[in-house]
Amino acid sequence: MKTKQILAASAIAAMSVAASNAAQADELTLCWAAWDPANALVELSKEFEAQSGHTMKFEFVPWPNFADRMLNELNSGGKLCDLLIGDSQWIGGGAENGHYVKLNDFFDKEGISMDDFAPATVYAYSTWPKGSPNYYALPAMGDANGWFYRKDWFEKPEIQAAYKEATGQDLREPQTQKELLQIAQFFQEREIDGQKRYGAAIFTERGSEGITMGATGAMYAWGFKYENTPGKYDMEGAVNSPEAVEGLEFYKELYKTATPPGYTDSYMEQSLDAFKSGQVAMAMNWFAFFPGLYADPDTGGDKIGFFVNPGQNIEASTLGGQGISVVAYSDKQDAALEYIKWFAQPDVQAKWWSLGGYSCHNSVLNDPGFKDSQPFAADFLQAMGSVQDFWQEPAYAELLLAMQKRLHDYVVADVGTAQEALDKLIEDWTETFEDEGKL
């Protein structure tokens, strides 16, 4: 044994190849983020295990670490995941660097048609280059950033009266970003049922993608664009347009005047916490959490209402959601493809939605009963109709980190002005695209 270890030290390569080949062929590992829908997928996958004889293992990573760890895994050529439900923005890198298996031939062979899935989801989750018929994933989970609120508070006559007195308007689901701010400010530090409450829980997280996903919700609504002409990378006047600046200033005002104290690094979990513990009147979060929120015994049911991200100059929502891909480094690609084939079936997709997963399949979304199947189903359809996503470039991580830094510096750490933050962002992005040879 011991002499072997010394041998091992000098024969690293040989050893590790032998070790990796020893894995079993019928145990598939699916990697995704650790959140409510992932638990639903475990439930759903039991059917696949029964039908195919393969066993499923799951590796769920909490969101704040998900991108970091999974991109590291892909870049190191790791074999941890056979199937990966990767974020929409990873598709460019996944395709260009050969991390994901191209699925066109498989789709043709198995008769899986991308026309059966909602066009916005196919565009966002599956294609690279964007919009071309080259598929690297099957749309798995539709998602967008939306809002929910304490319906029971909104319906209290005394609160409605106080709101009317304070603003001269009726308290309702906000129709614009500015109305949202007004309502949030109204609830800020207001005492309800003997406790101090706050306006809204929003995304301010620095480490992964939080503040970008939150702030773009406001910026898109004002008219923020990444490029003047799509595909030309001409960002001057788009990224830092007066509308974009106004949208970002708005987000800072919302953060400074209408959020609970201490939410300086808050993302999905913190937003859920703030809402479920009764701290806030409204909160933003991904639609993926809405089934769980609605089912919550304390703050769900009659007490919760949902609304789409309010527009301002235009209607827009920040896109979330993921496609499911086969990892190119996997030794069990055939079994992994089998899983995708199974997952694409209409009846499996219907069950997926019923368990709390947001199916992107037309047979589910176009079903006449869909809108009424859940209190947030209609909002979901509406949101998906006007979604915008971050860059999906192979250099996405670098682009995102720059935006995280500039936004967090301005909104939370009070560095400079919105105009300066966005001007600097263009500098950062220009540098990246120059490195990429795209500018």
Partner: protein, 313 residues
């Protein structure tokens, strides 16, 4: 010297000094006590205001640490047969059912495998090298010893870039073997320096006597020197183990699942909606307590260990 020494502090001075030190010790232990206590709180007690010093102990944190759970509706819950185990009962109380084991056990096991593997290897190689440096005239001895020490000065993140590429090429990413070799390389400088100090303290006459009795060098080494150095080797081993046990930067960059150790995993323990602090505290407690025990066992050699043998008493 007489029992009344002018350098001996007065009893009042001792009393004051003792009080201040104990006060500091109590403050410094508070966070550790809080980890221990939070592990036995319910999630509601853990985040209650004001913080609860007295609370009814619960094993929910430990149950949550070792399981994954899914929420079910009250109707579904009622349809289930009564819970068979005490931990199932705890979970049912929260309208949830146990879906399976969590990954904590695996990560803990990885920490053990990688910790002990690298410790064994560092001690094995380190003892040989230390013996050679202590007893033989090795050319460029001082330079080599300094070189061995200087490898410790590099920021781990800086070293991690080429190691990442190397592991990727050799297929060592996220493997136990890769992490064992890496931690051995990091630990060996400590092992060589500490062990050389311990072996230096063993009188050469013992071996020389053995050599005269007809022992070979090898025999003299393992029959005379090793038993004499046993305490030193054991304490060096514990230092290596603690380092490998606590290491985070390499682990977070070079492992993702199969070989991931506990330190990158524990901070990512979350419950259903929000960080589950009792579970995190439970995981931390199980992970930290062995090191506390080792620290107490090691107390005589502590100083030597943390200064690479530079300060011996």
């Amino acid at each position: 010297m007489s029992s009344f020494s002018i350098t001996e502090p007065s009893s009042r001075q001792k009393w004051a000094a003792g009080t201040l030190v104990i006060l500091y010790a109590v403050i410094t232990l508070l966070p550790l006590f809080w980890i221990l206590a939070t592990g036995f709180k319910t999630p509601a007690d853990a985040i209650s205001y004001p913080p609860k010093i007295l609370f009814e102990p619960s094993l929910e944190g430990y149950v949550n640490l070792f399981t994954t759970r899914t929420r079910v509706t009250p109707e579904q819950l009622e349809a289930l047969p009564p819970p068979e185990t005490w931990y199932e009962a705890i979970v049912r109380n929260r309208d949830m059912v146990i879906a399976g084991p969590s990954r904590y056990g695996e990560r803990f096991l990885n920490s053990l495998i990688i910790g002990f593997g690298s410790t064994f290897l560092s001690i094995f190689l380190g003892t040989l090298a230390a013996y050679a440096f202590s007893r033989f005239r090795v050319p460029l001895k001082d330079d080599l010893l300094f070189f061995i020490l200087s490898t410790r000065m590099m920021p781990p993140i800086a070293v991690a870039i080429p190691i990442f590429l190397m592991f990727r090429t050799l297929g060592l990413s996220d493997t136990h073997l890769g992490m064992i070799l890496l931690y051995t390389a990091v630990n060996i400088s400590l092992a060589v320096w500490l062990l050389k100090g311990f072996i230096d303290e063993i009188p050469r006459e013992y071996e020389e006597a053995a050599l005269i009795d007809g022992y070979t060098r090898f025999q003299a080494f393992y029959k005379v020197v090793l038993p004499q150095a046993a305490t030193g080797i054991a304490s060096t081993a514990i230092f290596c183990l603690i380092f490998a046990w606590n290491e985070y930067a390499f682990a977070v960059l070079l492992t993702s699942g199969t070989a991931q150790t506990a330190p990158p995993f524990i901070p990512t323990i979350i419950g259903v909606g929000g960080q589950d602090w009792p579970a995190v505290a439970a995981g931390a407690t199980l992970f930290l307590v062995p090191v506390m025990v080792f620290t107490i066992l090691l107390r005589k050699h502590l100083l030597r260990g943390i200064t690479f043998g530079a300060v011996r008493k």
